[in-house]
């Protein structure tokens, strides 16, 4: 499953996409994120599955443009969550 967390507003599209088929629930992204955006737990959009996967915390979903800004000082910067993910399961839309 490709889970897109975030929003679209007048200033653009701000989504963090997590590929739950690739994610192995290793929690490396949770450790790497300095602002508590990432978490690992049951896949709330696949309630019959037992597999634990990464997701963006409820509190941060509507403000990632701002929370994630320090990790993305320019367009080339690769944020620590993406760097930490060995499975290539995390993508940012902006």
């Amino acid at each position: 499953m490709k889970a897109n967390y975030g929003y679209k507003d007048g200033s653009g599209d701000f989504f963090i996409t997590i590929d739950t088929d690739k994610c192995n629930g290793c929690r490396k992204c949770v450790e790497a994120c300095p602002y508590g955006v990432m978490a690992v737990g049951e896949n709330e959009n696949d309630p019959l599955s037992e597999k634990e996967v990464a997701f963006v915390t409820e509190n941060e979903r509507k403000k990632i443009k701002y929370t994630c800004a320090p990790c993305k000082p320019n367009k080339k910067a690769i944020p620590p969550c993406i760097k930490a993910c060995k499975m290539d399961a995390i993508m940012h839309s902006w």
């Binding site: 499953m1 309630p47 019959l48």
Partner: protein, 290 residues
């Protein structure tokens, strides 16, 4: 002073399947407490038995109770007969008689799969205060999803605001928006607040109401299109939620996407979330028995 008519008020509905006798069957239910509307769906042995669709009040537990009581009306059912209940929607953690809460993304995919059949791959839920684009497989399992709940542009609430501004019953907006000489440009702003300001300006310029409605419906369709582009549209494509009843938006969206939108099923398209929740309730009940 005479009271202002409630232009935004949409038609509530309830239904019972006359061919089913629930006695002796496993009863499960799903409750979708949304931002604008609440639905309750009751299944008997996994078959759709009854549903209700009504406006959400200011109190979530109370709205959930009202919806289930209305669905159970004249069926002889009581809460005690229900083996498992799943809550979904904004108020999902506030359904007092539920055993589990499941996200509306998962529920809409499952419910959409039941309503529109296994060929449906893209479900767009245009809800009261958010918009969800979901891809699912032939069993109704989510494969990709995107939700926009930060902004009311392109939602039912936005349409309510417009119906009220123009003094047109929300049930007639779709038809009236086609009763125009030529299709106007969409209003440039999709933000409900700014679009309302823009519409007021157009009315002052002398635009007829229907033309303003057309301009808003097409702005809404365009806004949803840009959201859909992020995950793409795969056939078959179905729409659920209140806005799916508004032809003014649906037909214009169909034109933009270039893919035919599935005919609405015989059931109220607003029940998809609650239906999915009731189907999960059945699956979880069966799982618990094993």
């Amino acid at each position: 002073m005479a009271e202002k008519p409630e232009y935004w008020r949409w038609t509530e509905s309830r239904w019972t399947n006359p061919d089913i006798d629930w006695k002796g069957k496993v009863i499960t239910s799903g409750i979708d407490v949304g931002s604008v509307s609440s639905q309750a769906v009751i299944l008997a042995d996994g078959e759709l038995y009854a549903y209700s669709n009504m406006r959400t009040g200011s109190d979530s537990p109370d709205s959930a109770m009202k919806a289930i009581n209305w669905a159970m009306e004249k069926t002889g059912l009581t809460l005690k007969d229900i083996s498992y209940t799943v809550g979904t929607g904004y108020g999902r953690v506030n359904v007092p008689f539920s055993q589990r809460a499941i996200t509306e993304i998962a529920c809409h995919a499952r419910g959409g799969n039941f309503m529109y059949g296994p060929t449906v791959r893209t479900i767009l839920d245009m809800g009261g205060q958010d918009c969800k684009a979901i891809h699912c497989d032939e069993r109704g399992k989510v494969t990709n999803f995107l939700m926009n709940d930060k902004c009311a542009a392109g939602t039912g609430r936005g349409m309510e605001v417009f119906a009220d501004l123009l003094g047109v019953s929300i049930n007639e907006v779709g038809d009236l928006s086609f009763d125009i000489d030529e299709e106007p440009k969409p209003v440039s702003s999709t933000c409900v607040v700014y679009a309302k300001t823009e519409a007021t300006g157009l009315l002052r310029e002398g635009w007829p109401k229907n033309k303003v409605l057309a301009a808003y419906c097409s702005a809404m369709a365009h806004r949803i299109m840009t959201l859909l582009e992020r995950i793409g549209v795969e056939e078959d494509f179905a729409i659920t939620g209140g806005i799916s009843k508004n032809k003014g938006v649906v037909k214009r969206l169909e034109k933009e996407v270039g893919i035919k939108i599935m005919e609405t099923s015989k059931y109220d398209p607003q029940i998809a979330g609650a239906l999915g929740a009731a189907l999960f309730a059945k699956a979880l009940f069966d799982k618990g028995k094993k």
